[in-house]
């Protein structure tokens, strides 16, 4: 219990940011027309690739002889960047189609 209180007080700013971010996310999406749901889902999916920053930190911080960290980090970076590049590229392709007839 003490641990929990300590955790909350030490991360209070993070918790504020977390809650505000939740509201922003909800507000951003609430009134989107259903036409855009698929591209939106795809775009949001690309954004979740931000986890790659963590994967990069793993690789940057691991010692050169720590093969486990380097190996797993390598795969994590590949998967993360796949998510980012693929996600944004495919969203762009979808949206390209909405563009041309206006």
């Amino acid at each position: 219990m003490n641990e929990l209180v300590e955790f909350i007080s030490s991360k209070l700013e993070l918790i504020y940011i977390l809650i505000l971010a939740i509201f922003i996310g909800v507000e951003l999406i609430k009134n989107v027309p259903s036409v855009l749901h698929t591209p939106l889902m795809s775009g949001a999916n690309a954004l979740s690739g931000v986890v790659i920053v963590g994967a990069l930190l793993v690789m940057l911080q691991s010692k050169p002889d720590d093969y486990l960290a380097l190996g797993l980090g390598f795969v994590a970076v590949v998967l993360g960047v796949l998510n980012v590049v693929g996600g944004f590229a495919v969203t762009d392709r979808m949206l390209q189609m909405f563009k041309k007839k206006k």
């Binding site: 641990e3 929990l4 300590e6 955790f7 940011i17 977390l18 971010a21 922003i24 951003l28 999406i29 989107v32 259903s34 855009l36 749901h37 698929t38 591209p39 939106l40 889902m41 775009g43 949001a44 999916n45 690309a46 954004l47 979740s48 931000v50 790659i52 920053v53 963590g54 994967a55 990069l56 930190l57 793993v58 690789m59 940057l60 960290a69 380097l70 797993l72 980090g73 390598f74 795969v75 994590a76 590949v78 993360g80 960047v81 796949l82 998510n83 980012v84 590049v85 693929g86 996600g87 944004f88 590229a89 495919v90 969203t91 762009d92 392709r93 979808m94 909405f98 563009k99 007839k101």
Partner: protein
């Protein structure tokens, strides 16, 4: 932390918010996607070069290689995929994101192994790591299962009492994770067990869910990946990961509810209710839909269309599968030239995801204004001479209105049965994606034009051109 890097992270976070905002409007969506992408590239480059610790050059080489491999692969997949395969692709990419989060969790746990008790990570950090592993694993296998089911390489799997099994497994997972935190172990064996159980849970979680509900599941898993990213963000005290992840998490969750609403289903119903299972079997043997089906030919249909004043086309996934979106546009143009008023009725969940049909029709240059959403088109059906249903089934099934025993009862549908004539193009009399019979096909106003959408429509167009 390096102050320049902090500022870069701040800028990236702002681009994510603005990007998501712009993605919500048709005119600005493309720009929004680009802005978010630029923010992401900034965050990645900043992370690699602006840090305060020594990094051996071999690490840099490996990072470069990983980035190159992932980018090239991602780009190729994204450019090659057909638009009809979009939902499963989103799912696949999403699974990769989850996989990345789970690997990070493993590495971070490993750092703790073999340390003196005093220097060990606190229970809250261990909790965060375990949460990243569990959520990352669930989204990883869950997304891969969703991907496999959508591309048809995997069938629904329902173990007996699967809800009970899944819920028990989930509770066991949470209990086991709590145990690991409490004993503050550094045994990797326990982590492997946790990992395996989470992976299995992800598989069992998605495996029984029916195909028609897959978009909802993908959206939910997408949201979970965001949460996994945010959790790893807490681990590193990294703001861009935290805010970016939470944005995706909450946006994805809202999108999930919006999709559920469009299908008039609750989220618990999607996850715990078997769609197309027992209830569907009941509906088929109901005998209610029994009756005779009236077949028609391309030339008869062409005559009907030719002399109509108002035609509404209802496109479904069958149209997309047959790659007939270009032919349907041609049909629309031929009819318009003959003075027929043609529009498209778009059900919110037409295709495999909300808005999927719009993307497909936009691909073949169909005018945006001709795509009319369900609530606007429904009052127009009584004045419509001919409705042409192409490869759609469940979204025009009147059972949603008048058969309380039907699994889709209560789902808002396109009221095509109010039109004067209905032509349904289908490959066969097989039931739709939800696995239920459609009494519309037995309606006396309905005539069935059997055949592959592309060839049937091509024939229809050439008949019309000869008139």
């Amino acid at each position: 932390m390096n102050i320049t890097l902090s500022i870069i992270y701040l800028i990236s976070t702002i681009t994510f918010v603005i990007g998501l905002k712009l993605l919500g409007h048709p005119e600005t969506a493309k720009k929004g996607n680009l802005i978010a992408a630029v923010g992401m590239v900034l965050a990645i480059i900043g992370t690699i070069f602006l840090h305060d610790f020594e990094v051996p050059s071999i690490n840099y080489i490996l990072i470069g290689a990983a980035l190159l491999v992932g980018s090239v692969l991602g780009w190729i997949i994204a450019m090659k995929v057909e638009m009809t395969k979009m939902p499963e692709l989103v799912s696949l990419f999403n699974g990769f994101g989850g996989g990345s989060a789970l690997l990070i969790g493993l590495v971070e746990f490993n750092k703790n192994v073999g340390l003196e008790d005093a220097s060990k990570a606190s229970a809250s950090i261990i909790t965060t790591i375990l949460a990243a592993i569990i959520i990352g694993s669930i989204t990883f296998t869950g997304s891969l299962v969703a991907w496999a089911k959508l591309n048809g390489s995997m069938k629904d799997l329902r173990l007996p009492k699967y809800n009970l099994i899944n819920n028990m497994l989930f509770l066991a997972l949470v209990a086991f994770a709590s145990y690991i935190v409490l004993v503050n172990t550094d045994s990797f064996m326990l982590i492997y067990i946790l990992l395996a159980a989470s992976l299995i849970y992800g598989y069992l979680f998605v495996a029984p869910i029916g195909g028609a509900d897959m978009p909802v599941v993908i959206s939910l898993l997408n949201s979970l990946t965001g949460i996994a990213a945010a959790i790893t963000g807490i681990l590193y005290g990294n703001m861009v990961m935290l805010v970016g992840g939470i944005l995706v998490g909450s946006a994805g969750l809202i999108l999930t509810f919006v999709m559920c609403n469009a299908m008039n289903r609750s989220l618990t119903n999607v996850i715990f209710g078997a769609f197309g299972g027992d209830a569907a079997g009941g509906a088929i043997t109901d005998g209610k839909s029994g009756g005779t089906v009236k077949k028609t030919t391309a030339s008869d249909s062409a005559i009907l269309l030719n002399y109509a004043n108002k035609v509404v086309i209802v496109p479904g996934y069958g149209l997309a599968v047959a790659q007939a979106q270009h032919v349907i546009h041609e049909l629309e143009m031929v009819l318009t030239k003959k003075g027929v008023d043609v529009s498209y009725a778009i059900h919110p969940v037409a295709g495999r995801m909300p808005g999927h049909m719009n993307v497909l029709l936009a691909e073949s240059n169909v005018d945006y204004d001709k795509l009319i959403e369900m609530d606007d088109i429904n009052p127009q059906f009584p004045n419509t001479d001919v409705v042409l249903v192409v490869g759609a089934n469940d979204v025009v099934n009147p059972a949603a209105h008048n058969d309380p025993s039907s699994p889709i009862y209560g789902m808002p549908i396109l009221d095509v049965e109010n039109a004067k004539h209905i032509i349904v193009n289908k490959r066969s009399m097989n039931a739709g994606y939800a696995g239920i019979e459609n009494e519309l096909f037995f309606n006396t106003k309905t005539s069935m034009l059997f055949g592959d959408a592309k060839s049937a429509l091509t024939e229809l167009v050439s008949e019309l051109k000869n008139m």
